[in-house]
């Protein structure tokens, strides 16, 4: 079986994330890493590999030069090879552009499963997996917290808004997993050493037959008009509870704001 895991290189969420002058996310000036939510996708792919002999796991990313770090991390965790689509023309793509490039890259690979995270920690749209399913004309089995596969049949548990559901589909399909699917493993020393010898291919848009005018900031289907830092919240009154004084003060505050 062949599994392609889509992983994104994102600015560190604990760092100071900000916008560039052209209103795109600064992906160069801040420390980046493999999106934590995509580690869960790598983990599930590796678990399926362990259960299905002869499985090969490819980590695929679309992103700038440094995004190869995200691929490395995936390889260190245990994936077999990496594909990095990097092209200046891709910069500033929105989800439609990104999903187009990802889909064309996936078409060039062998796959039974395409595995994604639940959403990227920076854009957080959570739409790329659905868009990939649409573009590749594959069933979409998304937001799984428990993943099972028997032969070609995939079953997931999805904790939806109004119900908990079991969703099924037959491979090939697009799968996405949530952060409830189980802790991702840390790379072992052996894994880190082994990763150095694993192959990483670098593809440009022309390798994919995608025209530069179809993607990137200029072709984006949406345009950011303005970005503004949210004014910092000013800290209000803090009281220390002594013998029930805290509860009285709290009720007083809530009443003053008409919440009672």
């Amino acid at each position: 079986m062949n599994i392609v895991v889509c992983v994104k290189y994102v600015p560190d969420a604990t760092a100071d994330r900000h916008f560039e002058d052209d209103n795109t996310v600064d992906r160069v000036g801040v420390d980046g890493l493999l999106s934590e939510l995509d580690e869960y996708a790598v983990e599930q792919a590796l678990q399926l590999k362990e259960k299905n002999e002869g499985t090969e796991v490819t980590v695929l990313t679309v992103g700038p030069e440094q995004a190869v770090d995200a691929i490395r991390k995936g390889l260190q965790m245990g994936a077999d090879k990496g594909v990095h689509v990097v092209d200046d023309a891709v910069a500033g793509s929105d989800a439609l552009g990104t999903s187009l490039v990802l889909a064309e890259a996936i078409k060039k690979l062998d796959y039974d499963l395409v595995v994604c995270g639940m959403s990227s920690t920076d854009g957080a749209m959570g739409v790329v997996p659905a868009m990939l399913a649409e573009r590749l004309d594959l069933p979409q089995v998304t937001l799984g917290s428990v993943i099972e596969m028997q032969g070609k049949e995939v079953r997931i548990k999805r904790d939806g808004d109004t119900a908990t559901e079991i969703i099924g589909g037959t491979a090939p399909l697009v799968l996405s997993v949530t952060d409830q699917s189980g802790e991702a493993r840390y790379p072992s020393f052996k894994g880190i050493m082994a990763a150095k010898k694993k192959p990483v291919e670098t593809w440009s848009l022309s390798d994919l037959g995608v025209d530069a005018s179809q993607v990137g900031l200029s072709a984006a289907w949406t345009q950011v008009e303005d970005t503004a830092a949210r004014p910092p919240r000013t800290q209000g009154e803090i009281v220390t509870d002594e013998d029930g004084s805290g509860a009285k003060a709290l009720a007083e505050f809530l009443a003053s704001k008409k919440f009672i």
Binding site: A163, A220, T222, Q223, D226
Partner: protein, 315 residues
């Protein structure tokens, strides 16, 4: 004026409040047309009328039920092709966003998700990077597809014609490739829906797994109950109540956090609340940086006493 398609979000026929908000927003952009997939009851039709639907497209779901989002995207695609709307508005929950994503690809149009406001244009406002930035944007290509978060507008009544039209759509076999094998509806809690609630009371690891003080305080205020991921990971409360980056994003009038430290991923789900209150025994807890009012103390003492105080004041 062009039509604005609004996909009605409903649970077994009962229209959810977010739909009324979408209809209110749609009136700023054009003439609201509700798209109802399922059996339209008189109740549901009258709600849609009350909030301004000029038309209601009713799509029978016999063929769609039990499948995931793909058929719904096909329904909308066919309606977009027929009506050339000014925009398509969809509720910003997991399902809504997936429908929107597929629709945007199908009709080769721009997509904006998680709008917290939509004005004429349509120009959208989004809150990004854990609520640290506000972004205004617009779609530059095709028919704008916009998913809108709960509480993005105050629902305003304004009667529409609500002319019903049954629509026949063809659903491809490919769209039925992923199916719902089993479904267990969430148990009703009797409390307001988390993302729609005006007040949310949330508990963290500091509860030690005892949510009684949280629930009782919530009930005294008529609030919804939420939880941090630490609580969900410990199995103390179900995942559907998790607030934060990988849970629900809430923006209530009042957010009360008890025994929650305030990690960035938690803030991402509550930072835009109007008023924030925290109760934590550690005065250094980062969440105190955001609060309008804070109590340094043990939640197991403060909350029961506060519950009593609130109930007394309510008389």
């Amino acid at each position: 004026m062009s039509e604005i398609l609004v996909l009605v979000d409903h649970v077994d026929g009962a229209v959810r409040k977010t739909t009324n908000e979408l209809l209110t927003i749609a009136r700023r952009l054009g003439e609201p047309s509700a798209v109802f997939i399922g059996d339209l009851s008189d109740d549901a039709a009258s709600t849609l009328k009350t909030y301004g639907a000029e038309k209601i497209y009713v799509v029978d779901d016999a063929e769609i039920k039990g499948y995931l989002v793909a058929p719904k995207a096909e329904v909308l695609q066919q309606l977009v092709e027929r009506t050339s709307p000014g925009a398509v508005l969809i509720s910003s929950n997991a399902e809504g966003k997936e429908i929107a994503g597929r629709l945007a690809v199908k009709i080769d149009s721009g997509l904006i998700t998680d709008a917290v406001d939509v004005q004429e244009g349509p120009v959208t406002t989004q809150s990004v990077f854990a609520g640290n930035y506000t972004v205004t944007a617009k779609v530059t290509k095709g028919t704008p597809v916009i998913t809108v978060k709960p509480n993005a507008a105050t629902p305003e009544q304004s009667e529409g014609a609500a002319a019903q039209e049954k629509v026949d759509v063809t659903i491809s076999d490919a769209a039925k490739a992923a199916k719902i094998v089993a479904s267990e509806p969430r148990k009703a809690t009797g409390r307001p829906e988390l993302t729609e609630a005006a007040i949310v009371v949330a508990g963290g690891r500091g509860t030690g797994g005892n949510f009684e003080p949280i629930e009782q305080f919530a009930d005294s205020l008529g609030a919804a109950v939420g939880a941090s991921r630490a609580v969900v990971d410990s199995g103390w409360y179900p995942h559907s109540f998790q607030i934060g980056q990988t849970g629900k994003v809430v923006s209530p009038q009042l957010y009360v956090a008890a025994g929650i430290s305030g990690a960035i991923q938690h803030r991402a789900g509550m930072q835009t609340s109007k008023t924030i209150v925290a109760i934590n025994k550690d005065e250094e807890a980062p969440l105190f940086e955001l609060v309008d009012f804070g109590v340094v103390g043990d939640l197991h003492q403060v909350l029961p006493a506060a519950t009593e105080e609130v109930n007394k004041r309510k008389g």
